[in-house]
Amino acid sequence: MEKAIEVIGLVTHYGDREILKNISLSIPSGKTTVILGGSGCGKSTLLKHLIGLLKPTRGKILINGKDITVMKDEELDEVRKRMGVLFQGAALLNSMTVSENVALPIREHTRLKESTIQIMVRMKLDLVGLSGFDNFYPSQLSGGMKKRAGLARAMALDPELIFFDEPSAGLDPVTAAGLDELILKLRDVFKMTIVVVTHELPSVFMIADYVIMLDMGDVIFSGTLDELRASDNPRIRMFLERRPEKETYSPEDYFRIIAGD
């Protein structure tokens, strides 16, 4: 298995609170890896570290063998040019039209002619099924269309590596399934390494080749879908069978909670 990303001994804090507790994992290249976990398990924090938005307290993140945690901004920008990110809310720039948004990374990082850029933008928009929406502003698009436009922008420079932050959050099942199909298409047609952070089970079973599961800042599982289904780890079973977490307190603990001490 060829590794696209390798995380070694990652520890991170928000203030005094430890979010990721010394985690190590590797993400295979050319496959779709899903990072799975409940709310607050640290999966979004992990994603922010993988794209270099946050610096860890300790640990290494190797992308194509190079540690991005010790890179200077210029080197990191070079790495970022070869990765695309689709944010949860798509994060399109609201002051620009859809085509200007998609053209932005191309304009900033290449010296192509305007006509070439226009063709590239139209190709990307066509790929995500948004032909004809070039001159719309993000506020005029629906949630699903925004995500598609965000994906077109993430793909503008033909990255090797693409990250999705909760792609189906806030979308109806039909639109979410459409987005999942698009993710599969990217893997099969462009052979991209895809990393998806999500907690939506239907989507996981549709797109994942490889699953990493986080729980309370720890990696509790990494392996294929079949291995995930076969796992007998109680936390994983709870997640897969959608069972609520029962918080059991001893009478003393309960008293301490309500007494506020």
Binding site: F87, L93, N94, E108
Partner: protein, 268 residues
């Protein structure tokens, strides 16, 4: 139980550490802004010219009506107030000196700066803040685009050009306001007023005013951007930061004004 001394030092520490962090953040922003505005263009990373132009239109051209109105009124008020004292000693013609010098040296730059703080400083904070809240700033970083270069530098260029320009305009209109009142209510002859103003004004009065305006432009941009980048949460914090940016930029404009006025008083 910690002792009283420990409590005291704890208190000082809890207050001082966030302030040090704020100073560090602000210093880093200033450093980055100046790097991307003045050094990186020589290393092949050009300034976004079209964005700068559009910021100039938003911050400069659109402020013209309000700057004009306020300057005209302040010119009239200043002429009236000075006439109130000067007519007792029969020196009404000196209204021209007073209006000319105080507008060009002081009121033109500071009025313009306060108006621009309210209009553009707050807009900068709100724009950058809401982009931060919507992950747009993160998106820029993840595309390998420096948000300071992309967002702050065009605003800095715009205000560095437009604040002095608006100040010249404010000077002219303010003096014109004083002139209007003097030739009507005070019955000073227009030619005499004109001559008196020309005699009273020195080039350095106008230049020091413009230098102040330039510095105010930098202050307003940095404060607006700083408050914008500080936004962590949602819409509510954007509102809070916007208000804070107006208060802080007006305060800092006046602090810088004090500094420059003292400097110019002794060294020009």
């Amino acid at each position: 139980m910690p002792s009283t001394t420990e409590n005291l030092f704890g208190l000082i520490g809890r207050r001082a550490i966030p302030i040090l962090k704020d100073i560090n953040d602000a210093a880093r922003l200033i450093n980055n802004t100046f790097y991307w505005a003045f050094l990186s263009p020589f290393k092949g990373k050009a300034i976004r010219f079209r964005a700068s132009m559009s910021e100039m239109v938003k911050a400069g051209y659109s402020s013209v009506p309000i700057v004009a109105t306020i300057s005209l009124f302040v010119g009239i008020i200043l002429a009236l107030q000075s006439a109130y004292q000067l007519k007792r000693v029969g020196a009404l013609i000196y209204v021209a000196n007073l209006v000319g010098v105080s507008i060009t040296r002081e009121l033109g730059p500071i009025l313009t700066a306060i108006i621009v703080s309210g209009r553009s400083g707050s807009a900068f904070a709100a724009e950058i803040g809401s982009m931060k809240a919507a992950e747009e700033v993160d998106a820029l970083i993840s595309m390998g685009i420096n948000p300071v270069r992309f967002l702050v530098v065009p605003k800095l260029i715009a205000l560095m050009v437009m604040l002095p320009a608006l100040t010249v305009f404010s000077d002219l209109i303010g003096i014109f306001g004083g002139f209007l009142l003097s030739i009507t209510a005070l019955e000073i002859h227009p030619y005499n007023y004109f001559q008196q103003t020309i005699r009273a004004l020195l080039i350095k009065d106008i230049l020091t005013g413009l230098m102040k305006a330039w510095a105010f432009g930098v202050v307003i941009t940095i404060v607006g951007a700083y408050q914008g980048f500080k936004v962590e949460g949602g819409a509510e914090e954007v509102g809070m930061r916007t208000t804070a940016s107006v208060v802080a930029s007006i305060f800092l404009v006046i602090v810088f004004d004090l500094f420059f006025t003292t400097l110019f008083y002794y060294f020009t």
